[in-house]
């Protein structure tokens, strides 16, 4: 991983600026620029911030400068949130000052008619004349929580994560902060690419491929412009890091009546399906899936194959998991004789030693979370394990009370028990050479599951989502192998 290559990338200073200027922030709280400056400060950005404002002496308590020329230093990055008509001149002034990187949040360019297209061309030419690289226009910016830098308009309050995201919709950067936090996830770096007048989604992928905090790359795509380059870049990256993409616009509306059969059967959705497979990119069919796949791909080791064991203590959820695995194209192998023999001493006679392995109850309740998943993961017929998780606090407390504990002590012991057990199982999951995930109909409101999320263990909110996420692991391995075989 070359730090030099990373630092030389045009997006490096956009995601890791040591100092910034912002044009368009004021003391008026309704202004977009004001929101952006607020959230930059809220995350505790450590570099110098130079607001430019034609009238105000201070902006949000920071000394403001009347014009770009007045700045006391040349900042690494400019954030432009000005009215459309002022943007090109601002870019020119920044260039003359020596600024070489910008985020253009302002809209009214290529997305809005003939005049906008002309203006966008002028913006690009002006930037190019000063060797300025920028993202946007018409974007919501970039976020790099590892650098305590959040130049979007919604606050980032989560811990830094390992999902690198490039999105053709700003919403799937900013509006996902809280969503990801539900599962203990976060972004390593996120780019809203906007109109891609200068830097585009391909360059974002290449940057994220080098970014050491990024373990998996997520893409939200509406339309790729440099198609051949996109495929080639993906094929370079996939051997090192998985890429997951959601393509919107996957409707048949794009199909046009052609002269040939081929013309009439080709629609963009079909073509993108082929493009993703060709590039080794895993396609997600919803935004939830996009992040589920990123979650498991960043947390789990690569599976050797697609054979899954399901562990449950409840028949229904186990049966649904089996159905979901089958639909996802995963294989449910029978347990090996060796594993059956080893399991026998822990199980009651009511248990089923098929797959799903339905334990009903165990002689020692702790076995469910400890020795049994270990035994199952040692079965050489299986490549992955998915485990049904419940562990409601009330049940744990009743068990502790039944052993004679006073209510207060029982409460304390319940929490301790949950924290200890979740830490233990997450630690095991992280050291296990095979993918091991949980599934549940409970989520963060359940302390046990919340703790597992915090410890980085995927516990997906339904068996169907867990099965699809395990499929994404097997698919990544398949695509990576395909690309490696083609290269050799």
């Amino acid at each position: 991983m070359g730090m030099d290559k990373l630092a030389a990338h045009p997006l490096y200073k956009i995601a890791n600026p040591d100092s910034i200027t912002i044009l368009g922030a004021s003391n008026k709280y309704t202004a977009m620029g004001t929101s952006i400056l607020s959230v930059i400060r809220e995350l505790g950005y450590e570099g110098a911030i130079y607001p430019v404002h034609p009238k105000e002496e201070t902006v949000q308590g920071l000394p403001a400068y009347k014009a770009v020329e007045d700045l006391p230093a040349v900042p690494d990055l400019a954030i432009i949130v000005l009215p459309t008509r002022l943007v090109v001149d601002a870019m020119d002034a920044l260039g003359r000052k020596g600024v070489r990187h910008a985020i253009v949040v302002s809209g009214g360019f290529g997305e809005s008619g003939e005049d906008g297209i002309l203006l966008q061309r002028r913006l690009k030419e002006t930037a190019a004349a000063h060797s300025i690289r920028f993202i946007g226009p018409n974007c919501i910016g970039a976020v790099n929580p590892h650098h305590k830098f959040n130049a979007t308009f919604l606050a980032y309050r989560q811990k830094p994560g390992s999902i690198g995201m490039a999105s053709q919709s700003g919403s799937f950067i900013t509006q996902m902060f809280d969503y990801l936090d539900l599962f203990g996830l976060g972004f390593s770096t996120g780019f809203s690419v906007g109109n891609e007048a200068d830097t585009d989604i391909v360059e974002c992928m290449e940057y994220l491929a080098e970014c050491p905090n990024t373990r998996v790359i997520g893409l939200y795509i509406e339309s790729v412009r440099r198609g051949a380059r996109f495929i080639e870049a993906a094929r370079q990256i996939v051997p090192k890091k998985p890429i997951v993409a959601y393509y919107a616009g996957g409707t048949e509306a794009g199909r046009k009546a052609g002269f040939s059969h081929t013309g009439s059967m080709a629609g963009p959705d079909r073509v993108y399906d082929g493009v993703f497979r060709q590039g080794g990119i895993i396609r997600a069919h919803s935004i939830e899936e996009l992040y589920d796949f990123c979650w498991c791909l960043s947390a789990c080791p690569e599976p050797v194959g697609n054979r899954v064991l399901i562990q449950t203590h409840s028949g229904g959820p186990g049966a649904v998991a089996a159905d979901a695995c089958d639909r996802a194209g995963l294989v449910l192998p029978p347990l090996s004789d060796k594993t059956r023999g080893r399991l026998a001493e822990y199980l009651p006679h009511t248990a089923s030693m098929n797959n799903p392995v339905d334990l009903t109850f165990t002689r020692n309740p702790l076995d469910y979370l400890d020795v049994i998943p270990k035994l199952l993961l040692e079965d050489d017929q299986a490549d992955m394990l998915m485990m049904y998780m419940l562990t409601p606090a009330a049940q744990v407390r009743r068990a502790i009370e039944s052993m004679g504990a006073e209510p207060e002590e029982a409460e304390r012991e319940t929490l301790n028990f949950i924290d200890r057990q979740s830490a233990k199982i997450a630690a095991f999951m992280h050291e296990c050479p095979k993918p091991f995930v949980g599934f549940s109909y409970s989520a963060g409101e359940n302390r046990f599951i919340r703790r597992l999320h915090e410890a980085g263990m995927p516990v997906l909110p339904s068996p169907n989502r867990a099965a699809r996420a395990l499929w994404s692991l097997a698919e990544y391995r398949r695509l990576k192998k395909k690309i490696a075989d083609q290269a050799s």
Partner: protein, 226 residues
């Protein structure tokens, strides 16, 4: 390829079926054996060389909708019948008939479609699908962006829902995947080398009882056509 240049300079928007198959064949796509003949005598000799029965199709740059004007005769059994078919066509069509194409008859129970179109942002894209007259109804297709190699082409074929079509089928062996993959990547090469071609349809590509693939009909649309 001069086939394409000649058609363009003649102001045509498509290649004839015969030209389209010559183009495909030149890139290594297996096509039906066929010969052009400009008289009943030549037609009979060509049919003799190819082997009976044959298909006799009217040929002419201006000859569209061949079936409707009675310019397609399938399963013609011998030399005498070939000559008679030619004479009958000449009488019906007149000066629009420049000759006939004599083709071998290919039969097989499995049919594929291959094709090419240009997708904005990506350029030439190659398609494979389950083919024949029900192609659109079955709607089982996969795409790749050219250029790509044979192994990517094989991977593409495996994207089809009906990929079992490539395996052994009712006593017939599995499909020659090497030839299939080469044909798909070759269609991609045609798209790369000929920006003036906007669309290609190869339908049907018949899988013979021995597992070989043969392009039986083909359409090449030129820029400005369609």
């Amino acid at each position: 390829m001069e086939i394409v240049e000649n058609a363009l300079s003649a102001g045509r928007s498509t290649l004839t079926e015969y030209e389209a198959k010559r183009l495909l064949s030149g890139y290594g796509v297996p096509v039906t054996k066929e010969r052009l003949a400009a008289s009943p005598q030549e037609a009979a000799e060509a049919a003799d060389a190819i082997g009976f029965p044959v298909a006799v199709k009217g040929y002419g740059a201006a000859l569209l909708h061949k079936t409707e004007v009675g310019a397609v005769h399938l399963g013609v059994p011998d030399a005498k019948s070939v000559a008679a078919v030619y004479e009958g066509m000449a009488k019906r069509i007149g000066s629009g008939l420049e000759g006939v194409v004599i083709s071998e008859m290919i039969s097989g129970r499995r049919e594929l479609v291959m094709g090419l179109h240009r997708e904005p942002g990506f350029g030439p894209c190659v398609m494979i699908g389950v083919g024949g007259v029900l192609t659109e109804l079955i709607d089982d297709t996969a795409f790749r962006v050219a250029p790509f190699d044979d192994s990517e082409a094989a991977d593409m074929a495996m994207d089809l829902r009906a990929k079992a079509i490539f395996g052994a089928f009712r006593g017939e062996p599995a499909v020659d995947m090497g030839a299939l993959s080469k044909s798909l990547s070759a269609i991609g090469k045609i798209g790369m080398n000929h920006p003036e071609i906007s669309e290609i349809d190869v339908n049907p590509v018949i899988i013979t009882p021995k597992g070989a693939i043969v392009a039986v009909d083909a359409l090449v649309v030129l820029k400005g056509g369609g």
